[in-house]
């Protein structure tokens, strides 16, 4: 065997002897790579889905044909287009139904027989769906399996709707781009949605000539619009994916800490091996090469196993992410995940990079040390002291850098860089704080007691080994607290805002046949109705993002408290003045934070009467909306757009007991059961959507904490391995078990407490940056930071739990191994 082979064998033999270290190295690598790659897989899957967003159920949709006023496309106009030979056109119905358990189910329906999916040898359309059963009573409702699982559906179950209808028998099957929607034939969809028009017609690719021909024959009320969904989704969801990536990078960093820990100990152990190898004449170059090969081997094993783990994890996390994307952006993700080669290569490169930092560099440094032993434990402590100093200096430099950078941060990515800097600064300052706490303990404990002096000295000995684990713990605790505060603040703000915005008792949906005038003409309404608000909408584009003009009744009760965040003086009065020279509008915050608009600023918008200017009177909260939105009094909106699309109508009742009367009057005015929703249902649904949106964040968050727990466990186990002969000596010297445990665990508990304490202000800082910088830049939503100590308390308990578990494991190991160590000690003697 060559020298290289022998050196490599000698280096690697270490892991046979200390499998714990190999295990922790692997755990660190796998945890880091696994979480990172899970998010990568999900992100690239989502992005691939956006690329397909210009398709509907597997068929191209480069254009939509929609009604100008948003009402819907008549079936006879669709059939007429087909008879004119426009076979590029196919019908789609989309809508949302509510189940009797108040779950909102998005539906998508088409005519499978004309869906232009390539399936035949001939170049014509075909039925890719396996059966006319789909299009004939009792029909079929195709549920994506994860949605079916959520609803606890078995094949052939029929979901009951609160409108009294039920969906067709369930089939657990999906078509391309179905996402989390339920797929139906048009006939049952129109029935359960109680509609008689199609939502839109999708149009496959058109040549310029063909597009012109189609535009020529379209009835007046229809318009042909290019499908920009793919572009929009990519842009709108950018921030969400950046956030996920940042979370995964954090996990990767924590994973690396574990690996780093493991490596430290393997280094400590292999110093004699390296020295011996050099003494027997192995050149530094050969050893460097051998270390390189070892790094490569670990990187391959680590990234390979990590990817496997990540792939499995992505399968588990995907339903959560896709439901967030569906409810936030209406993006549909398929269920099957493909592992991209680029993810594999990136995972490997990241692992290799991390390992070079954690394994190769220290090994190489070790190589450069003189061959003959010079370092004793005390020099090691000295080195540690120096390291702590360097880390502290670095931490201060980073803090200063963060403060300098803060005002210049303007993108989500920059925001995360800032976060990274802050976290790292905190982590690197920690060893000094830990040392200080030990010093403080030294002052507090009686100097005369031998035991206390021993305890302190031993603490110093443990510090170099434990500080990395404590830094990992700090990162995890901080991230956890920060994210908890973000989610908690957001949830409170959202529910307060919903409380404020959803003040009316009943909402009647826009597609309903309900006639408000007919209702108001009903003399009984005076008994129970106090106010109404009829909302309409017009959709435009601004800065390449959809802009919704929401027409509302400017006198309605819910316009008294709009959640204004900043405004010109007397904004609401201006807005209510219906001044069509200024055209005052209330804009959502998104337009301020993402669109860069200010109060008093004038927007130039295309109207059917040409370009018109609109003045921003104020910005209002609009949580959960990915689009720009302007609130315009209906009379002003209708000055420019005579027939805006109906959105919804809200009704305020005198008393909740009037509900039956109100429902009766609604039915008399043309509404059907299920057309209206009670306020509390909407609130429930909104909060449910919110919780789903943050479920992924919460999942990542707790996973990171687990990884940190493992890091701590790994560090302690490694220390145990390292110190086993020492413990044996202690035993031989007559140290009791209690004394030994006191010495071992006191510094550990103190440091864990210090770490936890440090994590609180750092977590608060993190959440502050998340809320005031990142969230605003990512979504355009501002909110106050609401700090609660409860999560910190929970984390304290969890940390104590992890330490307790670790100590139990250590005790068990000790009990098992101590006799051997003692025997060895005896042998040496």
């Amino acid at each position: 065997m060559s020298t290289l082979g022998l050196s490599l064998k000698a280096l690697l033999s270490h892991y046979w002897r200390y499998p714990w270290q190999a295990l922790f190295l692997l755990v660190g690598l796998c945890a880091g790579v696994g979480l990172w790659s899970a998010v990568q897989v999900i992100n690239s899957h989502a992005r691939a889905s956006y690329d397909n967003a210009n398709q509907v159920l597997g068929a191209q949709a480069h254009f939509w044909i929609r009604a100008q006023d948003g009402t819907g496309v008549k079936t006879e106009d669709y059939a007429q287009l087909r008879r004119l030979g426009f076979r590029e056109v196919y019908p789609v119905v989309q809508g949302v139904v509510t189940t009797t358990t108040n779950q909102r189910l998005p539906l998508i329906a088409t005519d499978p027989i004309v869906l232009p999916v390539e399936a035949l040898e001939t170049n014509t359309s075909a039925v890719e769906f396996n059966g006319l059963a789909f299009m004939q009573a009792p029909y079929q409702a195709w549920f994506p399996p994860d949605l079916a699982k959520e609803l606890n559906l078995q094949p052939n179950d029929q979901v009951l709707l609160n409108s009294g209808y039920s969906l067709p028998p369930a089939v657990l099957q999906t078509q391309a781009q179905q996402g989390r929607q339920v797929l139906l034939d048009i006939a049952p969809a129109l029935q359960v949605l109680k509609r008689n028009t199609l939502s839109y017609l999708a149009v496959t690719q058109l040549s310029a000539t063909r597009q012109h021909q189609l535009e020529q024959v379209l009835p007046q009320y229809l318009k042909l619009v290019p499908n920009r969904q793919s572009l929009d989704l990519t842009q709108l969801t950018q921030s969400l994916h950046t956030q996920l990536t940042a979370m995964s990078l954090l996990s990767f960093a924590v994973g690396l800490f574990i690996a780093f820990n493991a490596v430290r100990f393997s280094l400590w152990y292999r110093r004699p091996t390296l020295r011996t190898l050099r003494l027997v004449g192995v050149s530094v170059r050969t050893l460097t090469f051998a270390i390189g090969v070892e790094t490569l081997i670990w990187s391959l094993i680590g990234s390979g196993l990590g990817i496997l783990l990540g792939y499995g994890l992505s399968q588990v996390l995907l339903p959560t992410v896709s439901s967030s994307l569906q409810s936030l952006y209406g993006a549909n993700m398929g269920a099957d995940i493909v592992l991209q080669p680029s993810t594999l290569i990136m995972a490997w490169l990241l692992t290799l990079g991390g390992l070079i930092l954690a394994l190769a560099m220290p090994l190489w440094q070790q190589l450069r040390l003189p061959v003959l032993p010079s370092s004793s434990l005390s020099t090691h402590w000295l080195i540690d002291q120096r390291t702590r100093k360097y880390l502290l200096i670095a931490s201060m430099v980073l803090s200063t850098l963060a403060m300098i950078l803060y005002p210049f941060i303007s993108t989500v990515v920059q925001g995360f860089v800032l976060l990274g800097i802050v976290l790292l600064a905190g982590a690197w300052a920690l060893p000094t704080l830990l040392a200080l706490s030990l010093k403080a303990l030294e002052y507090l404990l009686p100097n005369t007691s031998f035991k206390s002096r021993w305890l302190i000295r031993d603490g110093w000995a443990q510090l170099p080994a434990l500080r990395t684990a404590m830094m990992a713990l700090l990162l995890a605790l901080t991230a956890n607290l920060g994210v908890e505060a973000l989610v908690g603040s957001f949830r409170t703000s959202l529910s307060d805002w919903l409380e404020q915005r959803l003040s009316s008792d009943l909402y009647v949906q826009g597609s309903s046949q309900f006639d408000l005038h007919k209702l108001l003409a009903n003399p009984t309404t005076t008994d129970w109705l106090t106010a109404t608000n009829e909302r309409t909408q017009v959709t435009l584009r601004l800065q390449d993002r959809p802009l919704i003009l929401r027409g509302i009744d400017h006198t309605a009760p819910d316009t008294n408290d709009l959640g204004i965040t900043q405004s010109v003086p007397n904004a609401v009065e201006h807005w209510r003045s219906l001044d069509t020279t200024k055209n005052w509008v209330l804009a959502n915050e998104q337009l301020h934070f993402l669109g860069g608009k200010a109060v008093g600023e004038v927007l130039e918008l295309p109207t059917p009467q040409g370009l018109k200017t609109f003045t921003i009177a104020a910005f209002v909260h609009d949580y959960g909306n990915p689009y720009y939105q302007l609130y315009i009094p209906n009379p002003v909106l209708k000055t420019y757009w005579a027939h805006p699309e109906p959105w919804n109508i809200s009704l305020w009742l005198k008393s909740p007991n009037d509900l039956p009367k109100a429902e009766q009057a609604l039915i008399e005015a043309g509404a059907k059961a299920g057309d209206w929703t009670a306020q509390h249902t909407i609130k429930e649904v909104s909060l449910k959507i919110f919780d789903r949106t943050f479920a992924m964040t919460a999942a990542m968050n707790s996973l990171t904490l687990w990884v940190a727990g493992i890091a701590l466990l790994a560090a302690l186990m490694a220390i145990l391995q390292e110190r086993l002969p020492e413990f044996a000596q202690w035993r031989a010297l007559g140290v009791s078990t209690t004394e030994q445990w006191l010495v071992m665990s006191t510094p550990l508990l103190i440091w864990a407490m210090v770490t936890w304490l440090v994590s609180i202000p750092l977590g608060a800082l993190l959440s502050w940056i998340l809320i005031h910088k990142l969230n605003v830049m990512a979504f355009g939503w501002s909110m106050p930071l609401l700090w609660s100590m409860q999560p910190a308390g929970v984390l304290a308990l969890m940390t104590v739990g992890v330490i307790g578990l670790t100590l139990v494991l250590v005790a068990w190991q000790l009990k098992r191994q101590l006799p051997q160590a003692l025997a060895r000690l005896g042998g040496q003697a």
Binding site: R83, R87, L120, S125, N130
Partner: protein
């Protein structure tokens, strides 16, 4: 005899796409006709009303084939078929919930190739149908339309691949009721259909591709048939012929191939005035010759298939005997349910031309 074909093709969509399902597809044809209107003898036909759909019956079609000649005398052909199926016994005629399903097959046969196409549409929404206010049969922009209540004179327009086809159809001849006064028995059991034809249609028009038009002229044949349960359990496929003779006579013969070799034969001999004479099994001798091998697309794979493309038809009582061959062996309708249908020549074209349909191979 196209009833089986139609049922099979439309029935297929009720099954999965697997190629191996072809045999199962035949089961659809043997489904009980319970709930649908039954085909019984002695029906009185009523025109033009009977040109309209009969949705109480499960299956129905409007089937046009034409033998055409280009200016250089070369044979061309077209097939244009509209199939209707009631997916359940009680007809629902309007709205998206209609249980009427429509399918169209079209093909152009030229000296330079064969161009088939198929289309589907649901009934009830106006995308496909047959109306008799002024006669029209259509699916999307494939349309056969008259300006009057009568199907002739009329225009026929459709596309297949990049060909645009436009024809005018004329006929003044009487309708030919096939079988026993339009009652066409398909087996010794109660399998039967209502069946009438117009064998004498003059057709002129153009086939246009990439801006180049070819004018075409010839004779077309229309078959109208509807039924509810046409196939007996032991029938595996069929061979069907419609022939136009140069002397103005026309012949329709078919055989339903029984698994035991005792095939079910039937036909009619129609004089130039449109007066027909029913041919019974014993009046017809139908003999295939050597099998030819053609390559067809099956599951996107080029697959060789053996077909009887050469036949002898003999009517001993009339003392007639012809050789049937095709100038274009590759007239394979590669639809969901594939079959061979195309232009044939009688005695090498000397005696006449026609269309042949071969299924179950």
């Amino acid at each position: 005899m196209r009833v089986l074909l139609a049922l099979i093709v439309m029935g297929l969509s009720t099954l999965s796409f697997a190629e191996s399902a072809t045999q199962e597809v035949y089961q659809v044809l043997r489904q009980d006709a319970k709930g649908y209107a039954a085909v019984t003898p002695n029906r009185v036909f009523n025109f033009p009303q009977d040109h309209a759909p009969h949705p109480e019956y499960r299956i129905e079609w409007w089937y046009i084939t034409a033998n055409l000649t280009d200016p250089s005398g070369k044979p061309w052909g077209i097939q244009w078929t509209l199939f209707r199926q009631s997916l359940s016994p009680q007809p629902i005629l309007t709205g998206w919930e209609s249980n009427q399903m429509w399918m169209a097959h079209a093909a152009l046969s030229t000296p330079n190739g064969y161009f088939p196409a198929q289309r589907f549409a649901r009934g009830g929404i106006g995308q496909a149908g047959v109306s008799t206010e002024s006669f029209a049969a259509w699916l999307d922009d494939w349309a056969w339309q008259s300006t009057t209540i009568e199907p002739f004179p009329s225009t026929l327009k459709f596309m297949t691949e990049d060909w645009a086809l436009n024809f005018e159809l004329h006929s003044t001849k009487p309708w030919v009721l096939q079988g026993n006064q339009g009652y066409s028995q398909k087996s010794a059991g109660n399998q039967a259909s209502y069946y009438y034809s117009q064998p004498h249609i003059e057709i002129t028009g153009t086939a246009t591709r990439k801006g180049q038009s070819t004018s075409l002229k010839g004779t077309a044949w229309l078959d109208r048939e509807w039924s509810s349960q046409p196939l007996a359990p032991n029938q595996a496929g069929w061979d069907w012929f419609s022939l136009h003779f140069n002397d103005g006579y026309a012949l329709m013969v078919y055989q339903l191939r029984h698994t035991d070799g005792k095939h079910w034969l039937s036909g009619s001999w129609i004089d130039p005035k449109g007066v027909s004479q029913t041919l019974k099994a014993e009046d017809i001798i139908l003999k295939p010759h050597a099998l030819s091998t053609i390559e067809v697309l099956k599951a996107k794979q080029r697959t060789p298939i053996r077909l009887p493309l050469e036949w002898t038809i003999e009517l001993p009582k009339l003392n007639k005997r012809w050789q049937i061959t095709t100038p274009y062996p590759n007239q394979w309708m590669a639809a969901q349910f594939p079959y061979w249908e195309g232009v044939v020549e009688v005695d090498g074209g000397k005696s006449g031309r026609g269309y042949m349909e071969l299924t179950g191979y």
